[in-house]
Structure formats: structure tokens, C-alpha cells
Symmetry: C2
Subunit: 346 residues, 2 copies
């Protein structure tokens, strides 16, 4: 492991993402990336008596599918690193109980997807584990209930609000094998520019994405063109243009065909009723593990930087008048044999 | 880094705990370990308008004191790894905002103390950081309010209940320096024997402590006598005898002078009104960083295994009829120059 710059890990022997599992709900199953997911549920209930149990099922299914794809038994998994948006990260705790693997719970709101992948990769790259799984999930109805109003209440939402993705994504990293490699991770700082509106989390999170992207480029000495794609987690229709403009003003202009957002990719924002776009722990997880990795496998992308953004919103501190602290963690994922194909070594 | 057995990290170049910071409230300041803490608050309010802000202050003070003791500036700190019991781990999120360091949020309920130390040590030992801080906190009134009843409600408690420690503990690990070293960590699995009583968390957590202790001994090939002391996190008066009995039945009997519990050490359980004893994220953190490390420094202890226990209790899943999943993470802390003094190498 090498610490590069202030806060970027460069994995000297990059771990391989040998398998993933992605499960989504009905809205994501009607979005443009539907065919990239392993399992699509036709309804939000999924046969469960509570929304929380539906969310747990999503996570259990994603971990199961990832294990199947990796042809690994539960016993062979050394560590599971997971988290979600629910209080006490219950979906992951119960999924970890089902899985039976040694478990590290993490929380970074929607940035948990890349926080867990960065830690899983650290464990494998440093020799502290042979197989580590990273997982995260969210469910539209559990999140609305916990953070805003229960869906059944039927409250209206402003166009700046985002639509929480129903889904779960899991990935297994290993020291060797076939698949894209995790080459670097940049850990985010808490950024808080004073935004207090829980219906405008994209704007709150944009500065965190900008800070982590700039930190990553500075630490690694790269320019944005190093990556075929830089993808933010869930800034959506309001936050992503803000991040774009902030980067431009900071002298780091992004190629507009290269700078995307998972929250804008997972839905047809024009046609589906998702306000500004997708959000939630599952958003960047299923887009990365389902869509982006498939594109790397196909050779359509060689180097991707996923910048998962998290609004660490607490209904309690919000009611106490506090602003929303945000964080973003970035993970660089690259095609394994790119160098052999004439690319530049890291 | 070496993975030993199924789930134990043996740090090949053990990181050094170069400094700690411990802050506690009035009850802990009247307990038997009072003189070991850096700062004792005379009241629970600490001049703050809400209990949550009091808890945040505890965490901010503990991180500040640790930095002062290490003679480090905030800028020199590479990573802060922290978590607490509050929803969205808000105390640590806000403390990380104040600190300004790259931040990895973790959650393992009261096991967070050793989860964060294990990850901070992994980061430093693997070369992914020069200085990493681990921190955790709890406040009696925030926790009662969130998990049971607000203190102001004045509800009675059964004798199996535990008293949440008001306090915060932080430690800084580094590649070199003076101080005790972190030699190994064993990551816990979710254990759940079906206990559903939030007023009897000690009993719920005992099997997790037992599983992690046995896993650690098995992975490392050690017997309990290797350690001068094996200390559970917060099993307290009900859970600790259960863990002791379970270990005895499993053929791993503990020397009774050597097998202790932070929840029983921090208070005078006979005289102070703390029911079965202490609990909370701060319990094992302040006892370890305040008391146990001082005893290692003084040469009174050479090898200690801290087994922080966490009841991943969710008021929501509890109301949905679920049991309480639990986890325990163990970290081995040893005197740095023990080998030179004639001890056996790891």
C-alpha cells in the first residue's frame, strides 16, 4: 500500500473485483440500465411484511448472487464490509447475520458504497484477507419513512428532491482473478456549506464531490482525462451541474461527455417520476457494480473514477437547526489488462 | 499484514498508540478510574443546549486532547475513523467536520471502539497512512432518549439494564513512536441467540464476546494465559458471568483475576446507581485509552486483549419483533519493549 499525497491509497498490488451481485426494484427495472442488473423485483414489497424486511432481502440476495458468481462458499469469505441508510445500519447487520462472515459495519450515507469498497480493497491489498465483500443497499420506502415522510402519507415533493433507489449491490474483491482492478481510493472530508434543506441534498453534496475529485487529482498528479469517466454518486439534476460549475471555476473543467452521475443514469429522469434523479446507498452501488463494471468488461471503458457522495442527514440534528454535513469517497476502477493493451502503467 | 486463521489480523509491523484523549461525565468522574481520564465534566449538560451537542463536545475534546498529547496538528492527521451510537453517527460526523481530517464512519454499536482502532491500525500498518485516529463517544441522555425513554421521563429500570457511559475516547496510531503497540485484531461475526429485551443487552452480547475470544485464541494459537488481562467491553453484571460460564463450558476457562469487563470497572457498581454496570461506545474506549494503556505504560500490564462488545439494537426492528444481533471485535495491545525485557516474541 502506498499513501499518495494527503489521503489517497494507491494499491500496490491492486485487488480484483472477481464478482458482483445487483438487485433492484420496479422503478430501476424500468430505467435505462435495467438489463445490467442481476435481479429485478416487480414490486416494492417483495413478499415481505415490512419495508425494512424488503430492504434486508435485497441485501441478502445481492450478497448471495455475488457469492454464486464468484463460485465461493460463505465460509471462504474472510470479511464483509457493509452499511446502509437505516438507523443502526440494520439491513446490513441482518444480512451479515445471514451471511455469517466477520463483519465491519460502516456508515457514510450514500458514500457507503465506495467507503466499503475502499476498505475491502485495503484489506485484500494489504494481505489482511483473501476475499472481502463490500455491500450496500437502500429502499425507497424505508428511507422516505425514516428521513422525510412515510410514502403512504402521500406528501408532495419539490423538484429538487431525489428519488431513493430501491436496490442492493455487492462486490467481492480478491488478490487475484479475472475482472476489473481497484487501483486507488481517495477518502473524503466532511464538507458542509450550510445547506439545511433535506429536499435538496444534491446541492448539499456537490462541494464534497468537488473536494474529493480535486483531492484525488492532486494526490495522484492526474488530470481528469486520465479517466474515461468520472461518475459522481447521486448528485442528480440539481447537484451535478453545481459540482460541474464549481470544478470549472476551480480550474478543473470536466469533459461533459465524461463527467456523469449515477443518479441521472439509473432513471429516465424526463419520463420517470423521480424529481431531480436517483439517490440512496444503492444508487452508486448498482450503477457501478451492474453497469460500469459490465462496460469495463466489454472493453468500452478502461478507467473509471466513482465518486460516491453522501449527505449525512440526521432528522434530529436537522430539527435542531443544523446544516447537512456531506462526504464523498472516490475509488478508481480499471481494466486489468489495459497495460498489456498499450496503456500507460500507473 | 498477515491474515492468521479465519479472521485475525496480525500486524507485521505493529502500529504504536502514540497518544490518547479521554473525556468523561460526572458519574464516571466519581467512579474508581476517575483519575485516569484527561478531563472530567462536572455535569451532563456541559453548557450545551441539547444532549446531542454535549455528546459532540465530548468527542471534539477527546480528539483535541489526543492531538495535543501527540504534538500533532490537525493537518498532519491522515485519517479519522469514528462512530457512535446515535442515528447517522452524528457525533462523529460533526466532530470529523471540526477536525477536518479525511473521515471513515464506522458502526458497530459499543464495539465501535475496537472496530475503529483495528481499522486505524490496519491503515497505518499497511502503509496507507502515517497517522490515523480512532474515536468513539456516548452520552447517557442521548442514548436513553434514542433507544429507550428520555431521562426526563423518569422511567424505572430493571436491574439487568445498563448505564450508558458519558464520555469519549480517541487514540492516535502511528508507524513509530513511544507507546503500547497494536499487535493483532480479530473481527467479530454477528451472533444472535434470540434475546429481545433492550434492558438486558449484557446477556444478548455475551455470545458475541465468547465467539470472538475463542476465534482469536484459535486463529493465533494462543491460550488465555498469553494475556495479562482479557477485558470485555460492556457485558456488565449480567452478561459477564454468562460469558465466563459459556467459555468454561466450551473448554476455555478464564482465570477470574484476569477476565474483566470495562462496564464493571468504570463504576463502583455496588455504590453508584448504574444497575448492572456501564455500557455505551465510550465505555470500552475510555477504560482502554484512559486506564488500561496507563497500566501498560507503568509496566503493570504487558499484554491486554480488549474485546469490545456491541448490541446492534434498533428500536424499529425491536418493535417489529426482531431479536438483537450482536458483535464483538477484539484488539491485542502490548507493551512495546516487552521482548527486550525477556518476553516471548509474537
Amino acid at each position: 500500500m502506498i499513501l499518495q499525497g494527503k489521503r489517497t491509497w494507491v494499491y500496490s498490488k491492486p485487488p480484483v473485483i472477481i464478482a458482483t451481485g445487483t438487485v433492484v426494484g420496479p422503478d430501476e427495472g424500468q430505467g435505462p440500465l435495467a438489463s445490467d442488473f442481476d435481479l429485478v423485483h416487480p414490486d416494492l414489497e417483495m413478499g415481505q411484511p415490512t419495508w425494512e424486511k424488503s430492504e434486508r432481502l435485497l441485501m441478502e440476495q445481492a450478497t448471495d448472487i455475488a457469492l454464486q458468481h464468484a463460485k465461493l462458499s460463505k465460509d471462504e469469505l474472510n470479511f464483509y464490509i457493509g452499511g446502509d441508510l437505516l438507523n443502526q445500519i440494520i439491513s446490513n447487520t441482518f444480512a451479515a447475520r445471514t451471511l455469517g462472515a466477520p463483519y465491519l459495519g460502516v456508515f457514510g450515507a450514500c458514500s457507503t458504497s465506495m467507503e466499503s469498497l475502499a476498505i475491502a480493497s485495503l484489506i485484500v491489498a494489504s494481505g489482511a484477507g483473501n476475499y472481502a465483500m463490500a455491500g450496500t443497499c437502500s429502499h425507497n420506502c424505508t428511507v422516505e419513512k425514516q428521513f422525510r415522510y412515510p410514502t403512504e402519507y402521500g406528501s408532495q415533493k419539490p423538484p429538487t428532491a431525489q428519488y431513493t433507489v430501491t436496490g442492493a449491490g455487492a462486490s467481492i474483491v480478491s488478490r487475484e482473478g479475472n475482472g476489473p482492478i481497484v487501483t486507488a481510493a481517495t477518502i473524503g472530508k466532511i464538507m458542509d456549506l450550510g445547506i439545511k434543506d433535506p429536499f435538496n441534498m444534491g446541492a448539499a453534496m456537490a462541494p464534497a464531490a468537488v473536494d474529493t475529485i480535486q483531492g484525488h487529482l492532486q494526490d495522484t498528479g492526474r488530470d481528469p482525462g486520465y479517466y474515461d469517466m468520472i461518475v459522481t454518486g447521486d448528485l442528480a439534476g440539481v447537484g451535478h451541474p453545481i459540482a460541474n460549475e464549481m470544478l470549472r471555476r476551480n480550474g478543473v473543467p470536466m469533459d461533459q461527455t465524461q463527467f456523469l452521475d449515477c443518479g441521472l443514469m439509473i432513471y429516465d429522469v424526463e419520463k420517470q417520476k423521480v424529481q431531480a434523479g436517483g439517490s440512496g446507498c444503492a444508487c452508486s452501488a448498482v450503477v457501478t457494480y451492474g453497469h460500469l463494471l459490465k462496460r469495463i468488461h466489454k472493453g468500452e471503458l478502461r478507467r473509471v473514477l466513482v465518486v460516491a457522495t453522501g449527505a449525512l442527514l440526521s432528522p434530529l440534528t436537522f430539527q435542531q437547526g443544523e446544516s447537512i454535513p456531506c462526504v464523498a469517497h472516490a475509488v478508481a476502477i480499471e481494466a486489468q489488462n489495459f497495460e498489456q493493451q498499450g496503456g500507460t502503467a500507473l
